[in-house]
C-alpha cells in the first residue's frame, strides 16, 4: 500500500526546526551526512552531540532516522520515542515512527497519526494512512471520515480505494461504493479483482443488471474462477434467469468441489424453487467430499424440514451441532424443527438448554420469546405474567444483541399491541422499518397500533401505510411468480473427485 520510498519522502518532508539546545552547525552537519548516505558517520556525530545535549529532541529524531535507514527498527523506535517524550507533537519524530509502524499495520501508529493531524489537519497522507488503519481494524465509520478528507490522494492508490470501497459496503453506502470500485477498475484495468469487487457491491445493492454488465465480459474471457461463477449465478437468479444461475453454480461446484459455500448456494436455490429433493441430492454430493462442514448439514436439514421429514432434519442439525458447537445456527434450526413438529414443550426446553451454550445468540432469544408467546398463557395468572415477562426480556435482549433483527422487533410490537402499549409498539415498528423498509409485518402492526393510539394526527398516516402494504404484497406476489417459474429437476450429481 505505502512502499518504503513513499514513506521516506513523507518523513523528509517534515522540517527539522533548527531551534533549541543543539547548534545549527551540528544539526546541519548530520543532515549533510545523511544526504551523502554516510550513515555511520551521521550516527556517530548524532550520538556525540546527544552526549553534549541529551535533551535535544531533534538529535533523537535524527538518530531515529539514521537507525531506521540502517534497518535497526527497534533502536530507531526507541530513538523516536525519546524525541517524542521530549516534544510530544514533534512532527518529524511522529512521522518517523509512523513510517516504521505503518507497514505492519501496527495499531500504535493510530495515536501518532492523530497527533500529526492535530498539528496539521490538512495532511491528506496522514488521513489516508489513518483511514486504512481504521478500516483494517473494522472501524469503518472512522475510516470513511478520513478517506473523505484524503479524496485527492486516494484516487490514484488502488489499495486505498479497495479499503474505502470495503468500508462503504460495510456501512451500507452502496452507491458510493460502486463509484469507488468503478474508479479502482479504471485504475487497474488489467486486474480482475476490482471488477469482481464492483460486481459484489452491485449485487449487494440489488443492482443485478448492472452487476451482470460487469460480470459478463469476465465470464466471456475466463470461466475458471469459481467465485465469479457463483456471483454471476446469484445475479442471474435475481433477474429471473434461473437456468443460467443453476448452470453457473454447477460449474462453480465442478471447479471447486471442496468449497461448501457453492453447495449451500445451490441448496438455497432449491429452497427458493421448492425443489427440495434436488437440493438434498446436491448436498449429498458435497458431503462426499466435505463430510465435516456443519453448514452442509444445516442446509440439508432445512431441505428435509420442507419435505416434512423432520427426523432426518433433526439428525442433520444434531450432526452440525456436534461438528461445531460454537456455531449456534444448528441449535436454532433444531429448535425450529421441534416447533414444526408441533412439539412446543420440547422446543422450549431445547432453546433454554441451547441458550446456556450460546447466551449471546439473538436468534435463540427471539425463538425463546416466540415459543413463550405461543404458549398463550393467561396474562392474568402468575405463570402467564412470568412467561410474558420472560418473553419481553428475551426480545429486548435479542434486539440489543442484533438491533437489525426485524423479526424480534415485530414480535415486540405485537406484544406491546396485545398489552395496549401502543406508543411502544409504534416505536418498535418504526425501528423495524428503519432496518427493513419492506417489512410487511411491521407496517401492519404500525397500522394496528396507530388505529388504537387515539392520536388523530397519527391515524392520518394509516391510509398511506395501507397503500404501502398493498404495494408490497403485490410486489411479493410478483416476485414469487417470477421465482416460481422454474423448478429444478434432477441431473447427474457432481461426481466426487
Amino acid at each position: 500500500m505505502f512502499p518504503a520510498k513513499r514513506v521516506a519522502l513523507f518523513i523528509l518532508g517534515a522540517a527539522l526546526v533548527a531551534q533549541g539546545q543543539a547548534t545549527k552547525a551540528s544539526i546541519a552537519s548530520i543532515q549533510s551526512l545523511i544526504r551523502a548516505q554516510e550513515y555511520d558517520q551521521a550516527l556517530q556525530l548524532t550520538r556525540s552531540a546527544l552526549h553534549e545535549t541529551p535533551n535535544d529532541f531533534r538529535l533523537w529524531t535524527l538518530e531515529g532516522i539514521v537507525l531506521s535507514i540502517k534497518g535497526s527498527n527497534h533502536d530507531a523506535l526507541n530513538a523516536f520515542d525519546s524525541a517524542l517524550s521530549l516534544s510530544p507533537n514533534y512532527t518529524a519524530a511522529l512521522k518517523g515512527e509512523v513510517q516504521l509502524l505503518y507497514p505492519t499495520q501496527d495499531k500504535r501508529a493510530l495515536p501518532l497519526l492523530k497527533r500529526i493531524l492535530k498539528v496539521d489537519p490538512r495532511d491528506e497522507t496522514a488521513h489516508e494512512m489513518l483511514a486504512i488503519l481504521e478500516g483494517r481494524q473494522g472501524n469503518c465509520l472512522a475510516a470513511n471520515e478520513h478517506f473523505l478528507l484524503s479524496t485527492e490522494v486516494i484516487l490514484n492508490h488502488p489499495y486505498s480505494l479497495e479499503v474505502y470501497g470495503y468500508c462503504l459496503v460495510q456501512t451500507r453506502q452502496y452507491q458510493k461504493a460502486v463509484s469507488i470500485f468503478e474508479r479502482l477498475a479504471t485504475l487497474v484495468p488489467e486486474q480482475t479483482y476490482p471488477k469482481y469487487d464492483l460486481a459484489v457491491v452491485l449485487v449487494g445493492a440489488k443492482q443485478h443488471e448492472a452487476a451482470l454488465k460487469v460480470l459478463e465480459p469476465l465470464l466471456a474471457t475466463d470461466q475458471s474462477d469459481s467465485d465469479i461463477l457463483s456471483l454471476a449465478s446469484e445475479a442471474f437468479e435475481a433477474v429471473g434467469n434461473t437456468p443460467k444461475a443453476v448452470s453457473l453454480l454447477r460449474q462453480a461446484i465442478v471447479l471447486s468441489p471442496a468449497n461448501a459455500n457453492y453447495y449451500i448456494a445451490f441448496a438455497a436455490l432449491c429452497l427458493d424453487h421448492e425443489s427440495f429433493q434436488v437440493g438434498i441430492d446436491m448436498i449429498d454430493a458435497g458431503l462426499q467430499r466435505i463430510s465435516d462442514d456443519p453448514s452442509l448439514y444445516i442446509s440439508r436439514g432445512l431441505l428435509y424440514a420442507q419435505l416434512a421429514q423432520y427426523e432426518e432434519a433433526e439428525a442433520d442439525f444434531n450432526t452440525a451441532e456436534h461438528l461445531d458447537s460454537a456455531q449456534s445456527l444448528s441449535s436454532y434450526a433444531m429448535d425450529l424443527t421441534e416447533v414444526q413438529k408441533n412439539q412446543p414443550d420440547e422446543a422450549l426446553s431445547e432453546v433454554r438448554s441451547q441458550l446456556k451454550a450460546h447466551p449471546d445468540n439473538p436468534l435463540l432469544h427471539y425463538l425463546l420469546a416466540k415459543l413463550l408467546i405461543s404458549q398463550g398463557s393467561d396474562a392474568d395468572t402468575d405463570a402467564g405474567k412470568k412467561a410474558s415477562g420472560e418473553a419481553l426480556n428475551s426480545l429486548l435482549r435479542a434486539v440489543k444483541l442484533k438491533p437489525d433483527l426485524a423479526e424480534a422487533r415485530d414480535l415486540l410490537a405485537s406484544m406491546y399491541i396485545r398489552s395496549g402499549r401502543y406508543d411502544l409498539a409504534v416505536e418498535q415498528c418504526r425501528l423495524a422499518l428503519r432496518y427493513s423498509a419492506s417489512d410487511q409485518t411491521a407496517i401492519y402492526h404500525l397500522i394496528v397500533a396507530l388505529r388504537h393510539s387515539g392520536r388523530s394526527g397519527q391515524r392520518e398516516e394509516i391510509p398511506t401505510l395501507v397503500k404501502r402494504l398493498s404495494d408490497l404484497q403485490q410486489a411479493s406476489r410478483q416476485a414469487e411468480t417470477d421465482r416460481k417459474r422454474f423448478k429444478l429437476v434432477e441431473q447427474e450429481p457432481v461426481p466426487p473427485q
Binding site: H273, E274, S275, F276, Q277, Q306, L307, A308, V339, Q340, N342, P344, D345, I373, S374, Q375, G376, S377, D378, A379, D410, S414, R418, Q440, T441, A442, I443, Y444, H445, I447, V448, R451, I462, P463, V466, L469, S470, Q473, Q474, R477, E480, T481, R483, K484, R485, F486, K487
Partner: protein, 558 residues
C-alpha cells in the same frame, strides 16, 4: 390454497367442566345416503376438484321444519349417474325424503356455494347457487317446486366465471334483496398447469393441483334487485367490481359497523380478505386491512375459506371467526362495535389446533349454556399426499371449541362420534332439524354421503329461537339484528344469507340462555325500525313479523 405457516399454541390445562352436547351422525338413518360427487376421490388433477361446495338448512315449504339442500360437483370425466344437487324434505320424524326431481332441482356441474333469500318477497325462500360456469337462481314457486329463472332475472353471463361465495343482502335498504357474488380465480382447463408442472403445483415436495397462487384473480359482482324479479349488475358503480387482488370464497353480509347498513365480508384464499363498508349511497369502500380483518395478527395473508359470525364475548357486537389451511391457525376477530376488529386468536386459545385444513364453521351455542361455541369441519385438498405423508390425512375429525365464558375456548376432545369420525368435509350448516331446542349440524363430505349430526343435548339449560318475517324490510329479514339480554348479558345475532363455508344456516336465530328463563329482545329491522320484546319466556320458538309483533309460528313448528 396456501397461506402462512405457523406453530400450534400449547394446549392449556383442561377446565374439567362437563360439556353437555354430544353429536351422533344420523345421516344414513335419516335417509341422506346419496354421496356428494366432487372430483377425483384419491387424486385431484385440477383445483376445481378440490374446493368442494356448501349446503343449506332452510324451510322451503314453510311447514316449520327445516329441510336440507346439498350442492354437488361432478367429475373430470363427466357426471356419473346420481351426481346432482339434492333437496331433502323434512318428514318431521327425524327422516328426510329426497324430493330433488319433483322440485325441479336436478343439476350436475361444478357447484360451489348456496345462499338463500326471498328475492321476490312472495313468502317463499329462493335459492341461488354459484358454479364454475353459469350461476343459477331458482325461484321457489311455493308449491314444492323451483324454477331456474337465471336468464329472466338477468343473471346469465356470456363468459365462464368461477362463482364462489354469494349472499343476498339489501344493500340499498329498499326492501328488495340484492345479490353479491365472489369469484375465485380465472380458470380454464386449457391453460391451467398440471400437478407438479411448476412450483405452485407442489406441496411438501409432492406434485399437487395448481393454484390459486399463480392463477389470475377473480372479479366480484354486485347485482341490484330491480324489484320486478330482475337484477342489474352494479359491480362497477358500486366499487365492488374493481380487480381486488383476491381469491374470493365465502361471503357474509352483515352490519359490522352498526350504522344500520349491511357491509360485506369476503374470506379470501391466499390473499387479504375483504371488508366492503357500505357508504349509504350505493357504493362500498374496501377497508379490510385498516379495520383489522384482512390479515393475520402478524400481517400475513391467510388461506381464508369459511366464516363464522357471532357474538362470542356477549358484548352485543358481531365477531368473526375465519378458517384456513393446515399449519395455520384459524382466526378470531373481536369487533369493537364500530367495525374495527382485533385479532384475539391466541388470547382465546384457539391457536392450539392447526393440524387440518378447515372449512365450514359457525359461532353457535351448542350446549345452550349461554356462551356461543365454535365448531368447524376439516378435510384435505390433496388426497394423494396422505399416501406419502400420513401426517396430512385427507379425512379428518371435526373440531369443537367450547366457550369458557372468559374470553377463552377449550377444545373438546370427545363430543360424540359425529365429531370425532374423520371425513373430508367442506360446507356445513347449523340448525335445529328435529325442533328439539338445540342446534344440529349438517355437513357436506367430499365423495361421501353428508353427515347429519344430531345434537343429543343433556342438561337443564334453556334456549330461545327467533324467526323474523319482514314486511317493510325484505321478507326473509336478512340483515335484521336481534339483541338478546339474559342473565345480565347481551348477545347479538343477525339473519344471514350465507356463512360457514359456502353454506346457509337455519334462519331461525337460536340463543342458548343458560340458567335464564326469560330474555329481553331488541330487534332492529333492515328498514331501520326498532322493536322491543321484553321478558320473553324461554324454551320456545317465537315468530315476529315486522310491525305486527309476535305471530303464530308457521306450519307445524313446535
Amino acid at each position: 390454497m396456501g397461506g402462512r405457516r405457523t406453530t400450534a399454541q400449547k394446549k392449556p390445562t383442561e377446565s374439567g367442566r362437563p360439556f353437555d352436547a354430544s353429536f351422533t351422525d344420523v345421516a344414513a338413518s335419516a335417509g341422506l345416503i346419496a354421496p356428494v360427487i366432487y372430483g377425483g376421490v384419491d387424486h385431484k388433477e385440477y383445483i376445481i376438484e378440490a374446493n368442494g361446495c356448501g349446503c343449506a338448512f332452510f324451510d322451503y315449504d314453510n311447514d316449520g321444519w327445516i329441510d336440507i339442500f346439498l350442492l354437488s360437483g361432478t367429475r373430470l370425466s363427466g357426471a356419473p349417474p346420481g351426481a346432482s344437487n339434492r333437496l331433502y324434505k323434512n318428514n318431521r320424524d327425524g327422516t328426510f325424503t329426497d324430493v330433488t326431481g319433483p322440485a325441479g332441482l336436478e343439476a350436475a356441474g361444478w357447484a360451489n356455494a348456496v345462499c338463500i333469500g326471498d328475492y321476490n318477497n312472495d313468502g317463499y325462500e329462493d335459492l341461488f347457487c354459484t358454479y364454475y360456469g353459469q350461476n343459477r337462481l331458482y325461484r321457489n314457486l311455493g308449491n314444492g317446486t323451483f324454477k331456474d329463472v337465471t336468464k329472466e332475472a338477468g343473471l346469465e353471463t356470456s363468459e365462464v366465471r368461477w362463482g364462489a361465495g354469494c349472499s343476498f343482502l339489501d344493500y340499498n335498504r329498499d326492501g328488495h334483496l340484492d345479490l353479491f357474488v365472489s369469484n375465485y380465480v380465472q380458470f380454464d382447463f386449457e391453460h391451467v398447469p398440471r400437478p407438479g408442472s411448476n412450483v405452485n403445483c407442489n406441496w411438501k415436495g409432492l406434485p399437487v393441483t395448481c393454484g390459486p397462487r399463480g392463477l389470475p384473480f377473480g372479479r366480484h359482482s354486485l347485482y341490484r334487485n330491480n324489484g320486478d324479479g330482475t337484477f342489474t349488475d352494479v359491480s362497477v358503480e358500486s366499487g365492488i367490481g374493481k380487480l381486488w387482488p383476491s381469491y374470493g370464497m365465502t361471503v357474509v353480509a352483515a352490519d359490522f359497523n352498526e350504522d344500520g347498513w349491511p357491509d360485506i365480508y369476503v374470506a379470501c384464499d391466499s390473499t387479504p380478505s375483504l371488508l366492503f363498508i357500505n357508504q349509504h349511497d350505493g357504493t362500498f369502500k374496501e377497508e379490510g386491512v385498516e379495520r383489522g380483518v384482512a390479515l393475520s395478527n402478524d400481517g400475513a395473508e391467510q388461506a381464508g375459506m369459511g366464516v363464522g359470525v357471532g357474538d362470542y364475548d356477549l358484548d352485543g357486537h358481531l365477531d368473526i371467526f375465519k378458517t384456513h389451511f393446515a399449519e395455520d391457525t384459524e382466526v378470531l376477530y373481536k369487533n369493537d362495535g364500530a367495525g374495527n376488529f382485533d385479532d384475539r386468536t391466541l388470547q382465546a386459545k384457539l391457536g392450539v389446533e392447526i393440524r387440518f385444513t378447515s372449512w365450514g364453521t359457525g359461532i353457535f351455542d351448542l350446549d345452550n349454556d349461554g356462551w356461543p361455541d365454535i365448531f368447524f369441519v376439516t378435510g384435505g385438498v390433496y388426497p394423494e399426499v396422505e399416501k406419502k405423508l400420513p401426517q396430512y390425512p385427507d379425512k379428518c375429525p371435526r373440531i369443537l371449541f367450547r366457550n369458557l365464558g372468559n374470553g377463552t375456548f377449550e377444545e373438546i376432545a370427545n363430543a360424540g362420534p359425529g365429531v370425532t369420525t374423520p371425513h373430508s368435509s367442506r360446507g356445513c350448516a347449523f340448525g335445529d332439524f328435529d325442533n328439539d331446542g338445540d342446534l344440529d349440524i349438517l355437513i357436506l363430505n367430499m365423495n361421501e354421503p353428508p353427515s347429519l349430526l344430531r345434537n343429543d343435548l343433556k342438561g337443564i339449560h334453556h334456549w330461545l329461537k327467533v324467526k323474523l318475517v319482514g314486511t317493510k324490510s325484505n321478507r326473509s329479514a336478512i340483515g335484521a339484528r336481534v339483541l338478546t339480554r339474559y342473565s345480565g348479558r347481551v348477545q347479538a345475532q343477525e339473519v344471514l344469507s350465507q356463512s360457514s363455508f359456502y353454506s346457509c344456516n337455519d334462519s331461525r336465530l337460536h340463543f342458548g340462555l343458560g340458567q335464564a328463563t326469560t330474555a329481553d329482545l331488541v330487534i332492529r329491522w333492515p328498514s331501520g325500525v326498532t322493536e322491543k320484546y321484553p321478558n320473553v319466556k324461554c324454551d320456545q320458538l317465537i315468530t315476529i313479523r315486522e310491525g305486527h309483533a309476535i305471530i303464530p309460528n308457521m306450519g307445524w313448528a313446535r
